[in-house]
Point group: C2
Chain length 128, copies 2
DNA sequence: TCATTTGTTCGGGATTTGTGAACTATTGAA
DNA sequence: TTCAATAGTTCACAAATCCCGAACAAATGA
């Protein structure tokens, strides 16, 4: 099994970071890992907010987070442990990750309260 | 010709913003508009850093920036004038746009100095 | 009226993405 | 050792998206 590739911190790009976090599943994963004290394995995310994510899809998502420099993954026996590269990223792009995670929190809070008051959920703009 | 759609600020999502800015051409456009004092029309970007961008592609890029809430576009006669929605965005997601633009600046500066010292340019990680 | 300018829409090929199926690697139990 | 279970990866292919030339629409000015 080929080793897990991690880019050097100076090869990490803004576009790569933004792209990786532009997917709802991936921000959710990243936010969760960033929030944890300990490491997290992939299978913790087989369901995200009651939605099942296929294993193969999850694997791709982790690959994208990893290859764009957001997380570090290490094999430990049968599982892979993931941690964020927050500190390195903070050095390279000060304030960026914090701002994104903060925005994400604001948005989830709003989505949650909207749900409670039975208003229709905000619609995501088309990508086309 | 159908009117230009702009989402209400509360319908703007983090994912949408990150997606819109995860493309090098689009950040370049956004950064430029944000840097200008006055409004900018689309055709100003028919070439970006010596690279020609087809008109139809450019139109799509503007549409994506607009429909994800990053810019506001108004028809004025034959042309469309674009401005950022910085202030609204700052209210909704404090610090986000500034952090992204700042990261972008850091990255361009590095790319530029790397070019000067003839080191190979940082490679973008694969999207797959 | 007609040409020019500015931008949009359409159609298609090329590229990316999502996912089931098959696979690899490690662990633990019999 | 052998076998089953667990955790992920890789493959292949359908579906979705992206890019861009060609055709079009709307406003302006000669």
């Amino acid at each position: 099994m080929r080793p897990l590739f991690h880019p050097a911190i100076e090869d990490v790009t803004v576009e790569g970071i933004l792209y990786a976090l532009s997917d709802p599943v991936r921000v959710a994963i990243y936010a969760d890992i960033a929030g944890q004290r300990c490491t997290v394995n992939c299978s913790s995310f087989l369901t995200i907010s009651d939605q099942p994510i296929p294993k193969s899809t999850l694997s791709q998502h982790f690959k994208i987070l990893r290859e764009n420099g957001l997380i570090r993954s290490e094999r430990h026996g049968v599982e892979v442990r993931n941690t964020t590269r927050c500190q390195e990223l903070e050095q390279r792009f000060p304030g960026l990750m914090r701002a994104i995670l903060n925005a994400h929190t604001i948005q989830s809070r709003q989505a949650h309260s909207a749900k409670q008051t039975a208003r229709p959920a905000a619609k995501r703009a088309s990508r086309r």
